[in-house]
Amino acid sequence: MSVVDSPATRRPRDPGGPRQNRVPGHVAPRRRKRNSGLVPWALAVPALVLIAALLGYPLVRMLVLSFQNMRLRELISGRTPPWVGFDQYTRVLTDEVFWAVVGRTVAFTVVSVLISVIGGLSIALLMRRVTRGVRLFMVIAMMFVWALPQLVAAQIFRWMTDSDFGVVNYLIDKLPGVNYQNHSWFVNPWQGWSVITALVVWAGIPFLAITLNAGLTQVPKELLEAATVDGATPWQSLRNIILPILKPLITIVTTLSVIWNFGLFTQAWVLRDGHPEPQFQTLATYSYTQAFGQARYSLGSAIAVITVLLMLGVMIFYIRQMFRIGEVD
């Protein structure tokens, strides 16, 4: 069963309608693990066909493309681009700019996910501690943030950090002894990335905090009280009771955050006004600028393929774990 108020804990009003269709002597197939025949396939076919058609097929095309050299001329004329084998891959993998992008993307992912998850967990714990009115206020605040589309959120941050009209500069400048007039946040990559990270964390916290808070409601109160009686410090309770119970949930939300933040595109794109400088390129924007900005469609495809492989490498642990869960039931 699931963690919270799961559907399964509710009692169906009329499980199956015992009065109808009763076939005497019909025995439930207890060994459902066998002889399912075509039914599961029939159920899965619509999903598989759609995935194969709209994801699988373009994916194969992308793969094929990465072994060619497709430029604008080939794209327009529809002629088969020349085959170049692994040239695109060699070119990408020997390019130090690419590795800088990879390093940057990974660093950003690690930092932003750490901050988001720890922040989200802290907020979730805080939500358990405050009075109801305050909790409601917190939830409403987070709902609003969560509801803001990514594009909009990014534009707000661009507007707030604008060097001429931004409220952030205005406020910081008000601090005594600080001159932040016309300060540009994207000269120094550290500062620029701080803004991007702030945006991503700010936008990511609601999902994390609300989910983890729901998970926390499942920690049995009696257990914590007993622990306190036995002299456990709050920190010990957190480490030894709360975290182990939350662990599966934390794994999931962390993984989702990794997938999302690793694919960072919109935020960097909007904050840099559609032309991220080299120090603000991530794998996603880099692949996109190479493919569409520079009309190196094949190179862009090769970068995308490498990105997927990198992700697979990072996610292999998660996938294995998920796979095991999927296996079990």
Partner: protein
């Protein structure tokens, strides 16, 4: 993995659920509770909320300012001459309403489609054991890692020339084409999350029903589907947000008449300067459907997320 699910579920776990009783026992951690501690926590909570809300407040503040106040070197923290001009401007702008309607249609189609198709797929992997099941699970997990932007051109070419054997279709520049694309975009997550919900339903229920003479189809329809209800709602949150927020695919596939509000918002950035006021007003209007959606289903969000997430 520890299965926290084993613990009995207290009756009230939904964070927003209001209780008549004054007793504070809705799962609040009572460890180290003291009056000063509560005050401290409340202060922190309020402070956090204020910080979170600041950008939202700033959007509202900007949206209600007349143009000359928007671009001011000393940003006003309250519009001195509040006006609805920016909202009127957005509403009257070419294609705004059209694109809003498109966005709603596309989102609903994609989410509904993904739920139907995803539910069936989830049933297959949650309730059956068959040759190829592992492969399907693997596919569902791995495709979530694919960067969709890299597939833009193949996708475009394919949609432009959809050949169903009896007839050829051009699905670019159509709401259907984008809807299907979004459907597939959110499908893997949907299948995976629903799978978690379905496995959470004890098999004994199915079996009892089958003993009572239900056919397998009836079991799906009468038992599993209703019990997955909250899961469907929770899963749709993700799909809704994804489909509503996407702008790059739709901008490439469709002409402005067939785009959504996100793509429309991009228009406010021209080489002739950004129109911040109407942009922020448009942003607010764009967010309203999501806020409304969230408010309607808020009880299910947290529940569903945890349940779905933990099981999958």
């Amino acid at each position: 993995m520890v299965a926290p699910a084993a613990t009995p579920t207290p009756a009230s776990t939904v964070p927003l659920k209001r209780r008549k009783s004054k007793a504070v026992d809705d799962g609040v951690i009572t460890v180290g509770r003291s009056r000063s501690g509560t005050i401290l926590a409340n202060t922190a909570g309020v402070l956090f909320s204020v910080v979170m809300l600041f950008p939202v407040y700033w959007v509202l503040n900007t949206a209600f300012k007349p143009a000359d106040e928007v671009l001011a070197l000393e940003p006003g923290f309250w519009p001195s001459n509040p006006t609805f001009d920016n909202f009127i401007s957005a509403f009257k702008a070419p294609l705004f309403l059209q694109d809003m309607l498109n966005g709603v249609i596309i989102t609903l189609l994609a989410v509904a489609g993904a739920l139907v198709v995803g539910f069936l797929g989830a049933l297959a992997i949650a309730r059956f054991s068959f040759y190829g099941r592992k492969a399907i699970i693997l596919v569902v997990l791995v495709v979530q890692l694919v960067p969709f932007l890299a597939l833009l051109i193949p996708l475009f070419l394919m949609l432009q020339n959809v050949n169903l054997g009896f007839k050829k279709f051009d699905l670019t520049d159509s709401l259907i084409g984008v809807s299907i694309t979004y459907l597939v975009l959110i499908l893997p997550y949907t299948i995976w999350t629903l799978r978690g919900f379905i496995s959470g339903i004890p098999r004994e229920l199915d079996e009892a029903a089958m003993i009572d003479g239900c056919t397998r189809a009836q079991v799906f329809w009468r038992i599993i589907l209703p019990l997955t209800g909250p899961g469907l709602v929770a899963t749709s949150v993700y799909g809704f947000i994804q489909a509503w927020n996407e702008f790059i695919i739709i901008n490439t596939l469709n002409s402005p008449e067939k785009q959504n509000l996100m793509a429309w918002l991009l228009q406010n950035q021209t080489t002739r300067g950004t129109a911040w006021g109407p942009l922020m007003a448009g942003a607010i209007i764009t967010s309203i459907p999501v806020v409304v959606f969230f408010l309607i289903i808020q009880r299910n969000i947290a529940t569903g997320l945890t349940a779905g997430a933990v099981k999958g």
